[in-house]
């Protein structure tokens, strides 16, 4: 009996030592080495691909989607629904995005999806309302959006809630509204969108897309020039 207790203790000791050594290798040396190389070679990307406007002000990360909403009527009212600012290109909905519920000394973005199923009545209502809003918000005196023109990404929330991109179809649908609101020529805005559309990588990887923050930053530069 004593012997078997001793053997077990010896074995667990070996297990613990193995774990500690491998923790030093995989949990200290490896991440430090990778961080060193990453910071040296890809400093910008390793720190979050921040982008600046023309005044040099950081306006966010090109990888992290943002909201472009009007200021709230009553900033203290948490239940007040945000209204999109029609001057700017709008991103996808982000109904799954949260704010942190633990360690609340920070106000971190909590990435996430809605996780609602296709037959969930809540989701049906969300996408129905979103579609109606997209049609109404983007129709101008001279340009009427048809419900069938609204692409799926315009009315659905992404997996992360931080999708930085929209489809070219959703961007195209917003051009008339944005041009009108910023008193720009439709052709100018159209060109701006075309310049900020990324095709599939090597022609087949992923989907064509428009980065909303980059597009709005360029739009701002255009309106201020």
């Amino acid at each position: 009996m004593n012997n078997s207790v001793g053997n077990t203790a010896r074995l667990l000791g070996a297990g613990l030592r193995a774990l500690l050594v491998l923790t030093v290798v995989c949990g200290v040396l490896y991440p430090l080495a990778v961080t060193g190389i990453a910071q040296a070679l890809f400093n910008d990307k390793a720190n979050g691909s921040e982008i600046k406007d023309k005044t040099g002000q950081v306006v966010g990360s090109s990888l992290i989607g943002q909201r472009y909403d009007l200021p709230k009527q009553n900033p203290d009212d948490a239940t007040e629904a945000a209204k999109p600012d029609p001057k700017w290109f709008q991103p996808r909905p982000s109904n799954g995005l949260g704010s942190n519920s633990v360690n609340t000394q920070y106000s971190l973005i909590l990435s996430g999806a809605t996780n609602k199923a296709a037959d969930n009545p809540d989701l049906v209502k969300l996408v129905t309302d979103a579609k109606a809003a997209v049609v109404a918000d983007n129709s101008t005196a001279t340009y009427k959006v048809k419900p069938s023109d609204v692409p799926a990404d315009a009315v659905t929330s992404s997996g992360s809630g931080l999708d930085p991109n929209i489809s070219p179809a959703y961007a195209a649908l917003q051009i008339h509204r944005v041009a009108e609101q910023n008193k720009l020529d439709v052709k100018q805005v159209d060109k701006l969108v075309a310049d900020h559309t990324t095709g599939r990588t090597l022609g087949f990887m992923g989907e064509p897309r428009v980065n909303v923050l980059e597009l709005n930053t360029a739009l701002k530069a255009l309106t201020e020039s």
Partner: protein, 554 residues
């Protein structure tokens, strides 16, 4: 180019990349596990452990090594989380509650990476990088070690010796996982994944105000999360988060990392048993199921049936624009047919049938190609069942790779395939029968049941993905899924190692005209059939209540 064509081309490119890496990696791994030579840094490690890496172990000793190492890992990871509040370098984050800390420790040691916490708000640098990411390496290396021990059981004769656990653990980590991870992490950073040790980062926004992100060693953790078929995301959104998976290329690269070791291990197996053709038969079985599932998933997601998707015109809920339907479908099949459980799109919002494909993929036992190591040994158990069934049909004692599959072997294999279904179905039934657990369901109807079934399927099979609407951070789910993960990981290993020991003791049976040729397409077909029938019979009633009911209604 249509999204469908692009999706198919991405699948073809992925297949080509896997095919290119298959031989060199498979042969290299065979060399790693067969070599007599110990490198100098490895010798230091063995010295620290106090183990002689050249000492052969019989199966009970090998198993004791696996269990001792894993038990200490659970304990260490549990304590690290419980002490987070007082550890420096933890961003000032609070300690994790006992039930969640147990669940997370069990999860990462069992190679599952089920997460009932949200990474960015709960885990600081020390736990993420020094605890969770370390288990991403070593739990994968443990799985590979057990698989290699089983392969040695087939390859060796008249001995009970299966190799040395410590040597297999250390070699798998430092010779296979680490070098690929270093290169892979740099590739991911080049795509845009972050890699720093900054604190909470506050940056300006376009319309004024600021937003707060975590910094972190994300790329270095992301690469091993995929390569070791772990799946635990640095961020709550996992590989859908742009800092983990920034571009369409990084997406395909991550899918490649998920699949490459499990597929290449069939080559390692073929090399070590001295017949590459036997490895190809296993590879073909895995590849047929994987391609079939991927094709089905693409079909159902592009067809996008379901009330909400009829309105939107596409199944984009929970999917990222840059990946689209194709890149999301390929990822979700790769992650559920392996033990990965990383997600680049949210499974709960797939079509009803798409959710069923994900569930069935895990329920097959994650063997096509399966987790690193666990995929190969799971598939070899199925291979034994298949020769047994074939033997019954002709009234002949079955053999596989020159070893007799007698009473003892078939009992061990049968125990193996019973464990996970028993865990999944019993825990699901208990959760549904009890008054409180169903309150955790987010979605109404059949989908709510699927959330619970998915949770236990994912836990017991060591996958880790979720129908994440389920609020799993309750004492009931944290405890029961934690238990399911541990039993679903380590009980099967007991039977695999016992089987390996019993096979290694046998003397080889000479091949005769009556021997079933297990390196032929006929056998691969039989194996696919066996897998589908066994899984189908086990899970069909549960699937009918959940995803099939949902999928057929829409």
């Amino acid at each position: 180019m249509s999204p469908v064509t692009a999706g198919v081309l991405q699948l073809l490119a992925l297949t080509a990349a896997l095919a290119l890496a298959y031989r060199p990696l498979g042969d290299y791994m065979a060399k790693v596990y067969s070599s007599e030579k110990h490198y100098r840094p490895e010798k230091w490690i063995y010295k620290a452990i106090g183990a002689n890496p050249s000492a052969e172990m019989r199966w009970p000793a090998y198993l004791r090594g696996v269990l001792a190492f894993s038990a200490m890992s659970v304990l260490f990871l549990y304590l690290l989380q419980r002490l987070q509040g007082v550890l420096p370098g933890s961003l000032g984050f609070a300690s994790i509650d006992p039930d969640q800390a147990f669940n997370t420790a069990a999860s990462f040691v069992a190679n599952t990476n089920w997460q009932s916490y949200a990474g960015e708000q709960a885990m600081g640098h020390v736990v993420q990088t020094g605890g969770l990411a370390v288990q991403n390496f070593v739990s994968a290396a443990v799985g590979m070690a057990v698989a290699v021990a089983l392969v040695r059981g087939f390859a060796r004769s008249r001995t009970g010796e299966l190799g040395n656990f410590w040597a297999d653990l250390v070699r798998g980590t430092v010779r296979i996982l680490l070098p690929i991870s270093v290169i892979g992490a740099i590739v991911l950073v080049a795509c845009g994944a972050i890699q720093n040790f900054a604190g909470i980062h506050e940056v300006g926004q376009f319309l004024g105000g600021t937003q707060q992100w975590n910094g972190g060693a994300v790329a270095s953790q992301e690469v091993i999360k995929e390569l070791g078929t772990n799946g635990g995301g640095y961020f709550n959104a996992n590989s859908a988060h742009p800092f983990e998976n920034p571009t369409p290329f990084s997406n395909l690269f991550e899918i490649f990392l998920i699949l490459i070791i499990p597929f290449a291990m069939t080559r390692t197996f073929g090399r070590m048993v001295g017949s590459l053709r036997q490895g190809y038969a296993i590879l073909a079985t895995m590849a047929v199921i994987w391609l079939g599932f991927t094709a089905l998933m693409m079909w159902t997601e592009f067809a996008h049936h379901g009330p909400a998707f009829d309105i939107t015109g596409g199944a984009m809920e929970g999917k990222e624009t840059r990946f689209g339907i194709g890149g999301s479908a390929i990822f979700s099949v790769a992650t559920t047919l392996t033990s990965t459980g990383a997600v680049n799109s949210f499974h709960s919002s797939f079509t009803g049938l798409g959710g069923g494909i994900q569930l069935l993929g895990m329920q097959l036992g994650e063997i096509a190609p399966g987790g690193v190591g666990s995929g190969l040994y799971g598939m070899l158990i199925m291979a034994i069942i298949a020769v047994f069934i074939a033997g019954l049909m002709v009234g002949r004692t079955p053999e596989y790779l020159g070893k007799k599959i007698g009473t003892r072997e078939i009992k061990l294999a049968a125990c193996y395939i019973l464990i996970t279904p028993a865990l999944v179905l019993c825990f699901t039934a208990a959760a549904m029968a009890l008054p409180t657990p169903p309150h955790s369901m987010l979605n109404p109807g059949a989908h709510g049941f699927s959330e619970v079934l998915y949770a236990y399927t994912s836990g017991a099979n060591n996958n880790g993905s979720a129908f994440a609407g389920l609020n799993a951070d309750t004492q009931w789910f944290n405890s029961t899924i934690g238990i399911a993960m541990l039993l679903g990981r380590f009980l099967p290993m007991v039977f695999v190692l016992a089987l390996a020991g019993s096979l290694a003791e046998q003397k080889p049976v000479p091949e005769t005209a009556g021997t079933l040729r297990t390196d032929k397409p006929l056998y691969a077909g039989l194996l696919v059939g066996t897998i589908v029938i066994i899984t189908g019979l086990t899970y069909f009633p549960a699937l009918a209540l959940g995803p099939l009911a949902e999928g057929l209604a829409s």
